[in-house]
């Protein structure tokens, strides 16, 4: 899967989950950049990303992801749709 395509689809997910159409993510985006991205919303975000790309994050990945870039790398590697 290509990085640009992943970023585009991730953008839609972020906009839906945080209810904010002005969000644009890049590889450096972290939870500090998005106001509502707290631990509870993180769970929803992970769930939505898993559904969208047809993969399951490993437990270590869920708690260890530092920025959107790391998320994109995992999706590129293991995403199935």
């Amino acid at each position: 899967m290509h990085k640009n395509e992943v970023i585009e689809r991730l953008n839609d997910i972020f906009r839906d989950v945080f209810g904010d159409d002005s969000i644009t993510v890049n590889e450096a985006t972290t939870s500090d950049d998005i106001e509502d991205w707290d631990s509870i919303e993180h769970i929803n975000l992970i769930g939505a990303v898993e559904d969208e790309f047809g993969l399951r994050f490993r437990m270590r990945e869920v708690s260890g992801m530092k920025n959107v870039g790391e998320m994109i790398d995992i999706i590129c590697e293991r995403g199935t749709k």
Binding site: I13, D16, V17, F18, G19, I40, I43, N44, G47, A48, D51, R56, M59, V62, S63
Partner: protein, 597 residues
């Protein structure tokens, strides 16, 4: 909203939650506000978020307070000042098999030890329920327990002395026993729900380890929908009618083309058997007080021919109304609603034809359309839809169909009388009006929470609140039951007023639309006035709070001879009546004396 009606796409719902929430909150509808305390045995944030959507869609605006994770026992048993101050209207105990701390841990556990564990585990939950009832005095919703996905001992786990599945099933029997013997306690059946969606899908140990969610994120909307069904029912938001198409919905084939002997119905064919099973399923709804009606594009005589099929389980007399003609179905539904004195919002419409479902949904958005693609679809959608949750089943429910049938007879009679008064007198009506009896509280609460049209304040009460009202010496609270020559209508009217000095403030005045235009409201007023005089009250103040549904009583107090004191911009009004020289107004209903002595 169709997105929030079963079958829904739970994943999309959670992803688009904020947008859907905003849409609901800005749709301009008025909602009742309810406070819900969640005693959480595992993380409940998403449960609450999904529940909020379903409740908003049902006209209930919830405010939530969630206890800290895994403090459900302490909060209920030892108290939680914050929660008590919150004063919830509903307590939801969000526990699962993850909270069964005494599950036998080893298959080698003895029978005696398992019995002890079971006793102790049951006791823990009973303490929670007793504590919650005492501290909060409001309805309690309790999940029962889901079966585990993992079975160390295989089948033995389900029946052996120390089997965990066996233990869980015995806990569930305990929960149901408790529910049957305690009012205002409702079981959210996650044992069924987890089985229906599949244990493999229900369980997701990873989200437990990561976030302490006791079930997969995917099924959380299903869980929330099920809870919403119970809450909606408690507050009288159940549907009341199932309107059924005939051809390829209640039987296979087209009666007009295939004839009575040509349709699939009966034990001879596989398809015939399936429709028999469906009909018998539907007949059960009738027995619990849901009205069945026919809405079919057919000639009337053909429709009846089908229902008179020798193998047909549903007979013409099982239907409160039969509309078989070639008019658009939305118009027929609206006409049926009017005849039965109900709102179209209380209808579930079942049709195999997606085009008919679509037109009904478009023209009457408050009707829930169920696509009957197969017998299984119809039965499963009705099973999971949550439109007919039973939170109380009164004797009136069991008789409702008869009452509506009697109404139809009355309407037929009405035509022979030139003078309406003559007709009313011919009905030979007799009313019993008095204070609330304990056995009537359940029916009074139910009637109060579902009456929308003839209801001046649309104030809702839980069973406990109604009980408190009935004991409150500063209130006058009366209910009325009406019989006539065609049958017993049961309790049809409730009036509650608060005394303040020489004035009575009317807090609730409602009547079932089944007995509209029968002068029952005048009989209630006479009784109220009499009771006021006995207590030295000389003035009654009435309040009309306008809702989208109660226009029919906007002039009720005026029609009684009250004077309007004020009229607000929003349509609300205040009325008053001096009781000096009050003359009895009811002339057609006989009042049964000393009926409650």
């Amino acid at each position: 909203m169709k997105e929030l009606t079963f079958p829904f796409d739970g994943r999309q719902l959670m992803r688009r939650r904020r947008a859907i929430r905003n849409q609901l909150l800005s749709d301009g509808s008025t909602r009742i506000k309810k406070k819900i305390a969640v005693l959480a045995g595992s993380t409940a944030d998403d449960v609450v978020k999904a529940l909020e959507l379903f409740l908003l869609d049902a006209g209930i605006e919830p405010e939530f307070r969630i206890t800290e994770y895994n403090r459900f026992y302490e909060s209920a048993v030892f108290g939680d000042p914050e929660l008590e101050e919150f004063a919830p209207d509903i307590v939801y105990i969000h526990t699962t098999s993850r909270n069964l701390t005494l599950l036998p841990q080893s298959p080698a556990e003895t029978q005696e030890r398992t019995e002890e564990l079971l006793k102790e585990q049951s006791e823990i939950f009973r303490q929670i329920w007793t504590g919650a009832a005492e501290r909060f005095g409001c309805p309690v919703i309790q999940n029962n327990f889901e079966l585990p996905l993992f079975r160390r001992t295989g089948n033995w786990d389900g029946w052996g002395a120390a089997g965990q599945s066996a233990f869980i099933q015995r806990m569930n029997v305990m929960v149901s026993d408790y529910a049957r013997s305690h009012s205002s306690f409702y079981v959210n059946d996650i044992s069924y729900l987890s089985a229906a969606v599949g244990l493999e899908k229900w369980h997701d140990p990873q989200v437990w380890y990561l976030y302490k969610y006791a079930m997969s994120l995917e099924v959380i909307p299903d869980l929330a929908y099920s809870i919403a069904g119970i809450i909606k029912s408690i507050y009288g938001r159940n549907k009341k009618v199932i309107a059924l198409d005939l051809d390829n919905t209640l039987w296979g084939g087209v009666i007009g083309d295939d004839g009575q002997e040509g349709i699939d119905l009966g034990q001879e064919t596989a398809a015939g058997q399936s429709f028999c099973e469906l009909q018998s399923f539907l007949k059960g709804y009738k027995d619990m007080g849901v009205l069945l009606t026919v809405c079919s594009k057919n000639e009337q005589e053909n429709a009846l021919l089908g229902l008179e099929h020798p193998e047909s389980i549903l007979r013409p007399e099982d239907f409160a109304a039969v509309k078989a003609n070639w008019e658009p179905k939305d118009r027929n539904l609206a006409a049926t609603a009017e005849e039965l004195g109900l709102l179209t919002g209380s209808f579930v419409f079942v049709d195999d034809n997606p085009a008919e479902c679509a037109i009904v949904e478009a023209q009457l958005p408050d009707v829930t359309a169920v696509r009957a693609e197969s017998v299984k679809d119809t039965m499963y959608t009705l099973s999971r839809g949550g439109w007919f949750e039973v939170t109380s089943l009164t004797e009136d429910d069991l008789r409702r169909s008869e009452q509506y049938a009697a109404n139809a007879k009355r309407n037929a009679q009405q035509k022979q009388f030139a003078d309406y008064g003559e007709y009313l007198r011919s009905l030979d009506m007799e009313a019993e009006i008095g204070e609330f009896l304990p056995v009537q509280l359940s029916r009074i609460t139910q009637l109060t929470n579902k009456s929308n049209q003839f209801n001046v304040t649309t104030k809702r009460y839980t069973l406990q609140e109604m009980e408190a009202v009935s004991r409150d010496s500063s209130r006058i609270a009366i209910c009325g039951r009406l019989r006539d020559r065609f049958g017993d209508n049961g309790i049809v009217s409730v009036v509650i007023g608060r005394c303040e000095g020489d004035t009575l403030h009317v807090e609730l005045w409602l009547m079932s639309c089944r007995v509209l235009k029968r002068d029952m409201e005048l009989a209630m007023l006479d009784e109220l006035a009499g009771r006021c005089r006995n207590r030295g009250i000389s003035r009654i103040v009435g309040y009309y709070y306008k809702t989208p549904k109660n226009a029919m009583v906007s002039e009720l107090f005026g029609s009684f001879g009250f004077t309007r004191e004020s009229l607000s911009e929003n349509g609300d009004s205040v009325w008053s009546l001096s009781l000096a020289g009050y003359e009895e107004k009811n002339k057609v209903i006989r009042i049964k004396e000393n009926s409650y002595a």
